[in-house]
Every structure is written in structure tokens, then in C-alpha cells.
Subunit: 548 residues, 2 copies
Amino acid sequence: MLEMLRETVGVASTPRPPVALGAVELLPARLAEDAKVSLEAIVSRDGLRDDHSERVGHAAGKGYVDLVRLRAGTPEGAPDAIVLPAGHEQVRAVLEVCARHELAVVPFGGGTSVVGGVEPLSDGHAGVIALDMRRIGEMVELDRESKIATVGAGMRGPELERRLAAEGLTLGHWPQSYEYVTLGGCAASRSAGQASSGYGSIAKMVLGLRMAAPAGDIALDAVPASAAGPGLRELIVGSEGTLGVIDEVSLRVREAPAERVYEGVMFESFAAGIDALRAMAQEHALPDVARLSDAAETRMSMVLAGDGGLKGRLGRAYLGARGYGEGQAERCIAILGFEGNAKEVKARRGRALELARHNGGLALGGSPGRAWLKGRFQAPYLRDELLTHGVMVETLETATRWCNVPGLHDAVAGAIARALEAQGTPGIVMCHVSHLYETGASLYYTFIARQRAGAEIEQWRAVKRAASEAIVSGGGTITHHHAVGRDHAPWLEREIGVEGVAAIRALKAELDPAGIMNPGKLVRIGASSRPENPPRGAGRPEVSDLPG
Amino acid sequence: MLEMLRETVGVASTPRPPVALGAVELLPARLAEDAKVSLEAIVSRDGLRDDHSERVGHAAGKGYVDLVRLRAGTPEGAPDAIVLPAGHEQVRAVLEVCARHELAVVPFGGGTSVVGGVEPLSDGHAGVIALDMRRIGEMVELDRESKIATVGAGMRGPELERRLAAEGLTLGHWPQSYEYVTLGGCAASRSAGQASSGYGSIAKMVLGLRMAAPAGDIALDAVPASAAGPGLRELIVGSEGTLGVIDEVSLRVREAPAERVYEGVMFESFAAGIDALRAMAQEHALPDVARLSDAAETRMSMVLAGDGGLKGRLGRAYLGARGYGEGQAERCIAILGFEGNAKEVKARRGRALELARHNGGLALGGSPGRAWLKGRFQAPYLRDELLTHGVMVETLETATRWCNVPGLHDAVAGAIARALEAQGTPGIVMCHVSHLYETGASLYYTFIARQRAGAEIEQWRAVKRAASEAIVSGGGTITHHHAVGRDHAPWLEREIGVEGVAAIRALKAELDPAGIMNPGKLVRIGASSRPENPPRGAGRPEVSDLPG
């Protein structure tokens, strides 16, 4: 791959490895002694960490800017302490101490936010605490009959799946960050997994939850549905730690599938593939995983995965003979995955493949599906490796109604490409359609370019702005499943309006009157949530629209 | 039926017909002249009505207490005027005038609330306006490709289905009040239709909406899904007119089903039927309509519908021969309805009936299904007729997780029965399970008793309180699809907690700072949303927990 990139976007002449973690520069922790004593009284001495290693580990998420800064050894900031509550009452008590001492609180689950969701920002606070949820990760209740699992919010994805698998169950939530995520983090950031077309996003899975807010708890029992007023569950899902800390979630689980079939289909064009996916979504024949690469991503995946996993039995010759060979520059590969009991999968898959064929799709068999499954969580590791070679890899995503999918695809891809060119670093822009709904789908972009050495963040910011503008002016949502965090906050008002933002601020003022919860995320700063306390410029990065 | 009731619960010795509408007593309208002039300037003279007939027509919803009072000619109150805005800008302008003149605004769609959702209550206001949405009922856009219909919120259910049918589409939302409901009213009250197991509730259908709040609009474009912060759509859905007026909704629609199969299945017991429905819900074999009557409702429906529609070919003899005859007092009938394309229905129905048989279900063929379809919107008319004979009929509903369905069923049925006995009017208490989810289902109760003449409302209130207490202390939601309104407001805090109610109040304070929107609904009064303006006791019913 590096070879290919050397020829296309260009790579650094000499590798740029990350600095050792120990060499990362941090300002001294500035937690006041009385605050520290109060916190240790709650979580014990072992529950409060302020060593260099923990502070670096909680200094940032996994966004592009996070990686660039951490690899250079110069994060924007770091929490003054990491606090590890061991239960709900400890969370409550910690929030009370933090409100009293004007400490900002950043709820920290897996730390995998790619939108600046866990940055230790201050908005004039006396310090910043990372509230690490790793000690609140127990299975609270498994209701097999109702298929509801209630877990501590700090439980990680793989741990939950391991516990469920022992009972023949699954949650079915596999974001790319699956290996690290906590269930509370997924709920707070409204994430969607790779199989969301079948299993739904986390918002569909969360039936109940408990959020500890500074003003008090909101605890909502797991009921299958309710008409008891505005949807408070949906309000807390996606609140990104700005209203309080989700410390328990009740999740819908399912029988583990007896059958899993993953396979590839090649279409003559992106448009033909979209038509096929839309028909599947609207005719009760939706695969659990469905992703259609555009022509650019298809080209890349054919390179990366050895003809998309087709090197063997079904190789170039087969594709060429059927008219879907390399010369067909518009060809687009789709991965379809079906999970369930054998009979149900057979019926659904039969209908889906029929709709694929009806739209000119060529079935490629199981090898592309297996190749995709094998690499499904690998992209972030590859991204890190490429940074060593001076290559920027970034992803962003949106969703829109079906009739707007082709137009928005082109508009955003064009905006990214033009912005990269304007930076003097023309790149590769790729996209896939995934996360299908009856009414529309997500568009997920990956772009690759040579880094502008010494101006990496300026380069990133220019492209991010261009893509975000194209999304909001093109009828897409600013984010389908990455959340808002810090990076998308400047565009939230374009999506939900002045009054929508005002509504969120009003909620925050009620639930977090001291304004300590995850400052600088979700809603744009400027009209600060703590206007009566102007930033005191105490040598700590203040909140801003985009990382600088 | 009357004969049967005469022998069981008892009926009035002489019929008690309702008074003529013209004889209904109303206090004089007291809209200030300057307010009237301002409102007429917006909606024209024809758009403001204060004649007796319109005032009576907007004096109440369709709850039991509403009917009792209206039939007696003594409603609790009536709006001072009915205002008919013809578009979004008129709605905005009307809200502004009402805020200035301290007029309460009751958004009025179909007027079919059974929980006091449209009562013209005042909380110290200078008057009450019913904002009738009937003139905002146009199709704004029909996006066939994305399957999204955008309509004015005042469009009625049958009108939308008629427009969609012409395009081969359907919404699939059929609450019992279908003939009258507006789509905005459905969204505001978070309703669920009879086919919600397949089509989902209105909350699943609303992709976008516009709400005119006194403070400003919240307009959310129709996107299939988003992770852009807290779910504001879900917050407005279910807001019951207390935050603003929903005046446009974008709804997911579907291809009209080519095949519709409705049929009956008899189970040996309620427990066996529940097991079968749960299996269908958890194994991707859910009918679009699924309702399982308990033994009491089964007995009643066999009387009412001529053996549940089985009088002919499959009659008593058949049931008796198979061991499901009248002597089997625990038998329970289920109605299952499947809609879709022929192939898909065949597969899903095949699996569902297999699961029914596996749980001892006896297939009864299509006649019970046809009987149910024929009478599906009739119950409210029957209720009205029975009131003439001094018989109370009331319904209420909840939802809970599967493992709690049998226990909650018994607890609530028992509470209703005991409360009726305590009133000296022992009754018939019936229930069905419907609105199925993977994790649970709704329980829908109907109870019938002799009215306590002269103390009808006191009698109702005692039973309502007993049932609601049993629901909230038994792990159910206070309402699955009737909404909160005035009647359930006293129990909302038990469900969402002090902070949940505070969050809703904070939203209201932001969006409706003058506190004019639908006072006395959703959140309990007591801690009034306008504490600085104590009720002025101006000869108008003030808000209260339950109708008195």
C-alpha cells in the first residue's frame, strides 16, 4: 500500500515515528490539595491518579488531531487527575465535589472519540478531571426472557459480548472502535455499529438508563416503549457527557445468530448499487451489514485486500470475463452480511440477492465477506502506521435521504478533494454507503493525502471545514454516528437551529447548573454556558470551535 | 350485549340520552376585544370563531369524563375562541399575540385525546384559545424514492391514506381514533396504531418536523438517522402541545401491501399466548397486527362478534371438538394480521403460525380476522351508546418487559376490579396484549361497570387512581400510547423522576417563557410553570391533577 501511496499522494522521505509516551510534554497538574483530599475520600487513594502515564492516556481521543499532537508529544492539555469511581454513589459524590471546586468533568469510557469528545477542555474552570468509568463495568441483570441486559456503563464491548455469548446471546453493536468502547460511551455518543442495518444503532438498543447529573439523577426503567411525554431516553442518548454521566444502561439483546453469511457483490456503477440497497431496505430484505463502496474505495480495496479477497478462486479473470474487470472504472463492490436463524437468513438473503441481480449485481461469493470481517477493526491501526510515513488518513460521515445520496456523495467528495488540492496536497477521496434505513443511508468518507509537515492541523482544519459546509448545505446531517464533540459543534446550529441549541442549553442549565460537564463539546462556545464566569486564562487551553 | 350487561354489571332503568348540543351550558366567552382584533388581523374574521357550536366542539376531548360532562351539558369549560391559522407564519403570529395577551393556547388536531390533552384549562391566564389546525393540512412534498411524505400537521389520517393510496403507498398508522386524528396530533401525543408491531409507532415514523414555539421555531429536516446530539425529534414527539405547536411533519411511508392476511388463533391460556407472541417478536416473525385477549376479553368478544366471527364454518362445534370450547374458561383468542408482498408475508406468517402451534395455538382461519378488521374503529361508538344506558366503559393501557407481562396484567386487572367493587359497582375487567416489541409489549385494559348516577366522575377517579398506582408500582409505564395529558400527569414524576420533570420544565421555560402552551397537561401542576403569576380565579376552571 505504501508503494501505491508513494506514487499517488506522496509520502514523507523519512519516517516520523511517534515520541515515546514518557516524552510527552504536559503542564503540571494543578488540582488543589483540598479538592484532591475530598476526591480521594470518595474513591480512595487508588481511585485518583495523576501520574504522567494516566494523564497522557486521558489527554485526548483518537481523532486525527489527537494522534498528530500525541505523536509529536504536544497534546493540547491533559486532565489534572483521573478519577475512578466504583459505583453510582461515588459518581454522585465526585460530581458534587467537582461542582464545589469548579472542576470540569470529562466522562471517559473507551477514549475512542474521533470528534474531540474527551478533550480535557476548560471553560474557566479551576481544573479538569477525567471521570474514567472502567470500575463501573459489572453485569447488573440479565433478563433472558425479555432479552434485556443491564450493565454498568463502563463495561466494554468485548466483555459484554463475551458474557452474552456464554448465554447464547449478542448485542450486535460493533463500531470500528469495538475493542475499546464502553457501553455508556456508545450511548452518550449515539454510536452505530457496522451491523446497524440489522441490529439498529445504540439508540434503538438503549431501553433504560441512569444518568447522574450534578442536579440529580435521571433514572429511566427499561420499558419496551412509552408515550409518557418527550423522549428523555433519546435526550440522554447523544448528550455526550454534557448533561451528566450515564452510569448504567439497559440494552436490548438478541439470540446469537445460528447462521452468518457475509459475501460480496459487484455492481457496474455506484448508482446501480444504491438502487439495489434502497430496494433491500424498502422491501424487508435488508442485510444486517450492508456497505457499498464507491468506485474510488472499490479500487483501493481491490489493492489492499488482494482484489477485495478475490485473488483465489474468483479472481481477476472471473471479474474480467463477466465485464466487471479492472478496466471497468465505475465498478463498485458491496459487502452484504446476513445473521440469524438459518431459515430466516435463507429467505432474506435470497430476496436481497435477487434485488442485487435485478440491479446488475454480480455475486462474488464469500471470500470478500470473509476478508472484510477479518479486517473490520483494522483501519485505525493502519491510519496510525501511515502517519509514521507522513500520510494523513481521516474519516467523516453523514446521512441523508435516498434521493439525495448520489448528489450529496458527489458534493462532499468534491469539497474534500478541492480542499486538499488547495492545501497543495491532492489526495484520494473514497466513500461507502452503509447503515441503511428505509428512507436513506449514511455516507462514510475516507481521505488520504500527504501531510503538510509543520502545518498538519491547519491542513486538517481546512478540509474539515470544507466537508462540513458541504454536508450541512447539501442536506446531510453533520454526523450519523461519530457524534458532535468539539469538531462538529460549529455546525450543530445549522442543523437544529438557534432554538434547538437554546433548548439543549436550557437542559444543561437545569441539569448542570455549575457548567462543569464536558465543557466545549456539543454546543458551540461563544455564548458560553457559564457567561457569568469569564475564562480566567489560567494557563490551560480554553474551549474553542475546532482544535488549534 | 345490553342484555348480557343487564345480567352482569347492571344498566340504568331508564335511558339517559345526551342533552342536545345547543343545550350545553357555557360561560360567556371573555376574549378581550383588542386581542380579538389582533387575532382576526392574522387569521381573518372567518378564522376566529366564538359561536356556541364551535366552542362546545372544542370544549373537551373524548375521554370518559369528557363524555360524561358533555352528555350532561356541563363541560368544565370551553375555549373563549377557536383560531384557525392557515399556515406556519399565522401560527407564529397567533402565538405572539397570545403571549402578549396572556392567553392560554390549546393546540387542537382531531380532538380525540382520551387523557384530557385538549381540555381548555387556564393557569391564571386571561383566556383560552383553541388553535385548530384543520387549515394546515396540505401535502407539502411526497418523496417517492426516499419514501417520505411531508404534510401540514392538520392533515387527517384518512386524507393522508387516501393521498398515499393513489401513489401505491401507505403510512400504516391506525389508532382507534384514526377517522379523526391529525398527523400533528399523533406526533404530539406519541401515538401508536393498531398495526404498530409491524409499522412501528408514530415515533418511528416521524423523521422530521417543525414546531412553532413562542420563543422560536425548531425545524428538523427529515434525515434517516443522526448522531448530532440529544434527540430533539424524540423530544418534540410526545410534547403534547406544551412546548409549542407542531405544524409540519415528515413521515416515513411504505409501499401499500399487496397481501393482507388477518386471522385468529385460540390458545389454551393467556400464558401460552404470551409465550407465542414473545417468540414471534424475538424471532423476526412478528405480525403487523398482533393482539391477544385475556380470558375475560375472549369471553366478551365471543359474545359480541358471534363467537369471535366463528359462527359460520368454524363454529362452536369445531372449537369444542378441539378442546377450546366454551367450557374451557381460560382460552384466549389472538388476532394476527400480516401485510406485505406475497412472498414475504408467506414466509413470516408461516413462521409465526409455527410458533403459535408450538405453544398450543389452534388456527381459526380468516373469519375472526375479518370480524376484527370490520369493527376496529367501532369501540368508541359503542362506548357512547352504553353511556345512554348508564354503563361506564373506560380503557387504559401500559407497557412492560415480557417477564413482567403476566404479573402486571394481574396486578392492574385486580386493582381495577377491587376499585370498582369498592364503589359498589362490580364490573367486567378485560385486557389484551398488543403492540409487541422484542423486549416487551403493551397491556390494554377495558372495563365496564354500572355508573354511579350523580357520582360518575368520583367513581371514575377512584378507579383511575387505583389502576395508575398499580401500573407505576408494578413496573409499567403510565402510558404506552394514550399520552400523559391531564389524567396521567400526577404519575409522570414516578416514572421519570424529579429531575426528569425538572428537565421538561426547563425546556418549557426556554421554549414557552410566558407559559401559554397547553397549561395543566403533561407535567403536574402545583409547582406551576408560572409561579410568579398566581391563578387569578377569574371564574374559569383552573388546572388540577385530575378532572373534578
